[in-house]
């Protein structure tokens, strides 16, 4: 029984090495030529406590988790029901537990999954330095068809420093698990990858975000740590240092946003990363960057809100604050990544947009894609390198106009150090020179200019990713964004496979809106399903505000932290066409 993809969970309490086991499995899958997606979940304890690693493997790129898991491998049962909502199981699923830890708790058995026992503790106990999690890995590998050689290579890499004995102990336990799997009921296997599966990367969304801004040209980062954005910063700090940039840990988010304003005013492309609570604190100064026309990038790795909410879990509910959060009329850019690897494209593009238009660009990613690790096709090289229109030499006898009226709305920017072009950048309303003005005419002129530069820019095709069913687009569109794109893509695939026709529009450029492009994309569409992970349907409301949607538009929205399963979206499509 082979399948296109296999999904499994390894769960257990902190000491059980769940997260290590998941990582080893991911690495081994990579060696085997597979693609994969791994997410993690853990309890409220700061350290230790229960954890679960959710993995999905396939022979092609994995965009989303599946609707349910084929296998739950429980190293023990401690607090495991905390995860039951996150680990959907069906009657076909298999729970494998260790009899040494007793019975599976009832909370897991709602849909009567199959159950089997694997005496991990016992088996490991018989091996010197043998650990139950390696036994579990062996069993998993056997069950899903992962070649033992791949795991051997990974364990060698990982335990090199611990020496040969450690490697052997691990592999002995692993092989004992492989052997024990013979007694376990079957779950779908993945086929071996025939030839080369192409150049691939192993990367998390947060790392891709960091790489994207460096690729785009950012060389100054100031930030204050916050879950789940911290890993962006932790990746950036040493990486920036390697390419001649720097990261400064600021005293708070008010400082970090203003530090990057200062650096960018000084001519160095700059960014910060945060999450909802931190973004809230940056709102005033984002308005300053709009008014003073200072380019910068702010990444919001969204978590569950409101307020402190659930710091370690995902939601798409910062759309409103990102789009509408600034006081006054303050046109700026909002873009959103739609997958782990798209974090790279979207942040790099964001730097490009910010620099080209001298405007702050907000990038929305989220905990789900930020903290997930994926094996993905090697991302393409991109031409987007932030490039500012800088002022040329001063004209004798002509005073430099920092906020000169131009057709594009973009005014050449003088960078400190350039002689003859000194000026004061100002968050007060101003005239073309930057001199404060309270005249309605200056206000209107500058407002027009600041919005014109965004509306007249050529965003190319990147405003959205658009995909049709193989057999054509039909008359039904799914409009979605960010992390909901993965399950929506898979829903579209399944719908197509069943003969359905639909179009998927995943909006990357949230603001400014693109009414003409959307109108073209919706040409011939009679029905629209809007999919998003927010309690109030923020994206749906925003679409209504700015786009003309067909009368038959439905909003599929749910608050976090549970992601949509592809099946949930497919169900809507199918029910609708029925």
């Amino acid at each position: 029984m082979t399948a296109k993809s296999v999904s499994l969970v390894i769960a257990g309490s902190g000491g059980a090495g769940v997260v290590t086991a998941g990582s080893l499995l991911l690495d081994a899958a990579a060696k085997a030529g597979w693609y994969a997606l791994m997410s993690r979940s853990s309890g409220p304890q700061i350290r230790g406590g229960e954890a679960a690693a959710m993995l999905r493997f396939a022979t092609g790129p994995v965009m989303s988790h599946d609707d349910s898991f084929h296998l739950l491998m429980a190293i023990d049962w401690d607090n495991i029901t905390r995860f039951s909502a996150e680990i959907p199981l069906t009657g076909n699923s298999l729970i494998v537990g260790d009899p040494a830890h007793g019975e599976a708790p009832a909370g897991l058995l709602k849909n009567s999954p199959r159950q089997a026992a694997l005496a991990m503790t016992d088996i490991a106990g018989k091996i010197e330095n043998g650990r139950p999690n390696m036994v579990a890995l062996g069993a998993i590998a056997a069950l899903i068809g992962l070649p033992a050689g791949a795991m051997q290579a990974v364990v060698e890499d990982n335990l090199k420093r611990k020496g040969q004995a450690a490697i052997e102990a691990s592999m002995t336990a692993f092989h004992a698990g492989v052997a024990a799997a013979a007694d376990l009921p079957a779950i779908p296997k993945l086929p071996a990858v025939a030839a080369d599966s192409g150049p691939r990367w192993s990367i998390t969304g947060n790392e891709a975000t960091g790489l994207g801004v460096i690729r785009g040209g950012v060389r100054f980062v100031a930030a204050y740590p916050i879950t789940p954005a911290t890993e962006v910063l932790e990746w950036l700090a040493p990486s920036l240092a390697k390419v001649g940039g720097m990261l400064v840990q600021a005293e708070d988010e008010l400082a970090s946003i203003n530090q990057i304003i200062g650096a960018s005013y000084g001519g160095v492309p700059a960014m910060t990363a945060t999450s909802g609570p931190g973004l809230s604190l940056m709102i005033e100064s984002l308005g300053l960057a709009v008014a003073a026309e200072v380019p910068l990038v702010v990444v919001d790795v969204m978590r569950v809100g409101p307020s402190t909410g659930i710091a370690t879990k995902s939601e798409q509910s910062d759309l409103n604050i990102a789009v509408y959060g600034l006081h006054g009329d303050a046109p700026h850019i909002v873009v959103a990544a739609n997958s782990v690897s798209d974090c790279l494209f979207t942040t790099q593009w964001a730097v490009h947009l910010a620099e080209a238009m001298q405007v702050p660009a907000l990038v929305l990613t989220d905990q789900a894609m930020g903290q997930a690790r994926a094996i993905v096709p090697k991302p393409a090289e991109l031409a987007f390198i932030g490039q500012r229109l800088t002022a040329t030499a001063a004209v004798e006898g002509e005073r430099y106009k920092r906020y000169a009226m131009t057709g594009s709305g973009v005014s050449p920017m003088a960078i400190p150090g350039m002689p003859g072009l000194t000026h004061t950048a100002d968050g007060l309303e101003h005239n073309e020179f930057g001199t404060p003005s309270s005249q309605a005419s200056d206000h209107h002129a500058q407002m027009d200019k600041r919005s014109r530069k965004l509306t007249q820019f050529n965003y190319g095709d990147h405003w959205a990713d658009i995909e049709d069913s193989e057999v054509g687009a039909g008359d039904t569109a799914i409009i979605t964004w960010g992390s909901s794109t993965g399950p929506a893509r898979e829903a579209l695939d399944r719908y197509s496979a069943a003969g359905g026709k639909a179009r998927l529009i995943s909006v990357r450029l949230i603001a400014p809106v693109q009414p003409e492009k959307m109108a073209a994309a919706l040409q011939g569409m009679r029905r629209v399903l809007v999919v998003e992970q927010s309690h109030s349907g923020q994206f749906y409301r925003m679409l209504r505000a700015f786009y003309d949607l067909p009368v038959e538009t439905r909003s599929l929205h749910q608050g976090g932290p549970l992601a949509f399963g592809p099946g949930q979206i497919l169900e809507q499509l199918t029910a609708w066409s029925a």
Binding site: K31, L211, V243, D252, G266, V268, P416, L421, T422, P436
Partner: protein, 279 residues
């Protein structure tokens, strides 16, 4: 280029044509004069200097100079200047502002700027009032000042001691000057700019409109009798016991090296970073 004689500058070369919005007689006029005079003394090309500020009467200074200026939001001048100086160590960066901007809404950045010790010169025009918003008590206002409708019985709160807190937080250079002595103020600003690390200059700069009684300051201030110390504990004792009117001298000079993140290797390529992700 070495042979080229250093260009001479006059104070007026650092002034813009803009007419200040300040009230006639405001102490900030002389501060502006002293800053431009100091820049001339240092003969810094205007384009190599940046003045950063927040919001307030005193925070209007950048636009009145002819150097690069940044007029940000209320209370956030220090982080803007920090980012600018770290990104552009070649520039001379001054920060100007008021007691409200710096010690009320901006208090946290003040603490951490002192501590971080980036090479900035922070000139605070202390008039013990929010001038711009028409006269409310600031952190440095005496507890019994009843001039604001917001605190009609006075604030009842001990005034903030900027120099003591600055010292306690790690400022590397501390001076107090009076706007009634612009020549000396210019001299001290020159010293502050030359001193590496974070330099704090408190200027007693009267608000003639909302604190007309401050006109007396010109008569009350006296030149501090002792010279500066480099011993923070000693400076603390002096500052905690002085009455705030000892002016005209540097009060503390530390020798901490300025903050400047240094990295092992800056010659790496983005490709090397990417290579780490490749399978």
């Amino acid at each position: 280029m070495e042979a080229v004689a250093k260009k001479k500058y006059a104070a007026k070369d650092y002034k813009s044509d803009l007419k200040p919005i300040w009230c006639p007689g405001c102490g900030d006029y002389t501060v502006l004069n002293s800053i431009t005079r100091a820049l001339a003394e240092l003969a810094l090309p205007p384009e190599q200097v940046a003045v950063v500020s927040g919001i307030g009467c005193s925070s209007r200074i950048p636009a009145y100079t002819s150097v690069y200026g940044f007029h940000g939001v209320h209370g956030r001048a220090l982080p803007v200047a920090t980012g600018l100086k770290l990104a552009r160590p070649d520039l001379t960066v001054l920060v100007t502002g008021g007691d409200g901007d710096g010690f009320s809404i901006g208090g946290n950045h003040f603490l951490h700027a002192c501590r971080r010790n980036v090479d900035l010169t922070y000139i605070v025009m202390d008039n013990q009032v929010y001038g711009m918003t028409k006269g409310q008590a600031s952190p440095t206002t005496a507890p019994d000042w009843e001039g604001s409708k917001l605190t009609p019985e006075g604030t009842g709160i001990n005034p903030f001691q900027p120099l003591v807190v600055g010292l306690a937080s790690g400022a590397n250079f501390i001076a107090r000057v009076s706007s009634s002595d612009p020549i000396n103020m210019a001299k001290i600003i020159v010293e502050a700019i030359r001193h590496p690390g974070f330099s704090l200059v408190q200027v007693l700069s009267p608000c003639v409109t909302f604190r007309p009684e401050q006109a007396e300051w010109r008569d009350i201030v006296r030149t501090a009798v002792v010279d500066y110390t480099d011993d923070a504990a000693r400076a603390a004792r002096r500052l905690m016991t002085d009455d705030g009117f000892n002016v005209g001298k540097v009060l503390f000079k530390g020798s901490r090296p300025p903050f400047r993140p240094e990295f092992e290797n800056s010659n790496g390529s983005v490709a090397e970073l990417e290579a780490r992700f490749a399978l």
